[in-house]
């Protein structure tokens, strides 16, 4: 077995030399991405834990702050992200079918939707800035009964949505990489693993938002 040269046999595109065949490589990539997503679940989980504790401890403060969550923007953004997951999965499907133009189109669409999400996020954060609800020296809260607790809750809001936004920005960067690779004909119907893997990442970021939205925006809103 010629161990020392990289194996790039025509029937095994993209195969790296330490793998026996592309089935093993794909299995490894997929398992690797899922293990990484599990680490992300635990990463966000710490913040969900902190949030749950404080929501439990300060229900009135929580109800008070929930009036400042912009449900309209949150709902629009939820729709936008779900749409982007749809376009992402269509991108992966196009790659699977070897349809280069459709692949690029869907990747670009996903990227645009991601940017729309981030734009609305910016609008929201700006709103919070104007209201002096960003934790730190400039923080002010109208209802003085809950001022301290509100700052803690807003801190968690920004930590959770901010961390999510950072993951979206990274995702956008990854999408740009995919678009460039696709434009350079790197993908065929036999090998499109990066598209699949980044697709999994993108869906995960969508799922985090699916849980963030009701937790931060919807519950306690009626009080």
């Amino acid at each position: 077995m010629a161990d020392s040269e990289a194996i790039l046999a025509p029937q095994e595109p993209g195969l790296r030399h330490h793998f026996d065949d592309s089935a093993q490589q794909l299995e490894s990539s997929t398992l690797g991405m899922w293990v990484f997503l599990v680490t992300e679940v635990m990463f966000f989980g710490g913040m969900f834990g902190a949030y749950t504790v404080y929501r439990n401890m300060y229900p009135e403060a929580f109800a008070s702050t929930s009036h400042f969550m912009n449900v309209t923007i949150g709902a629009i953004n939820t729709g936008v992200l779900i749409f982007s997951s749809f376009t992402m999965v269509l991108a992966v499907r196009s790659a699977q079918l070897g349809q280069k133009k459709a692949l690029i189109a869907f990747l670009v669409l996903t990227l645009i939707l991601g940017c729309v999400f981030l734009s609305w996020k910016y609008v929201e954060y700006h709103e919070k800035w104007v209201d002096h609800h960003i934790p730190g020296p400039g923080f002010q809260y109208a209802d003085s009964r809950y001022a301290h607790q509100a700052q803690i809750l807003f801190y968690l809001y920004f930590a959770m949505t901010g961390m999510h936004a950072i993951h979206m920005i990274v995702g956008a960067g990854l999408l740009i990489t995919l678009i460039v690779m696709a434009a350079r004909n790197r993908f065929t119907s036999k090998w499109y693993t990066p598209v699949e893997m980044i697709g999994l990442y993108w869906h995960f970021v969508d799922i985090v938002w699916i849980f963030l939205f009701p937790l931060l925006y919807l519950i306690g809103h009626t009080k």
């Binding site: 635990m42 504790v53 749809f86 009701p214 919807l218 009626t222």
Partner: protein, 100 residues
Amino acid sequence: MTHQAVPVKVYAAVFGALLVLTATTVAVSKLELGEYNFIVAMTIAVIKGTLVVMFFMDVRRASSMTKLFIGAGFFWLAILLVFLLSDYLSRGWLLNIHWL
């Protein structure tokens, strides 16, 4: 995916369902259901998440090892949340030592 390509209409149906569920959860949140607001919202979120995992992430057709890892991930998150809350929720309970 090493399997056959999924027809677009399956994905479109899932997409539609996710939008409907989103609208539902927003609508329900405007009703006064007390404790049930939380339960309903979380249930809908779990359903939406499951749809994304099963269909968009193709876990429906994935190996049992993948499913095991996903299950383990959520189980571990549950461990964190349950044990964390078990402290906070039981702090007010006093230990009854009359039997001493």
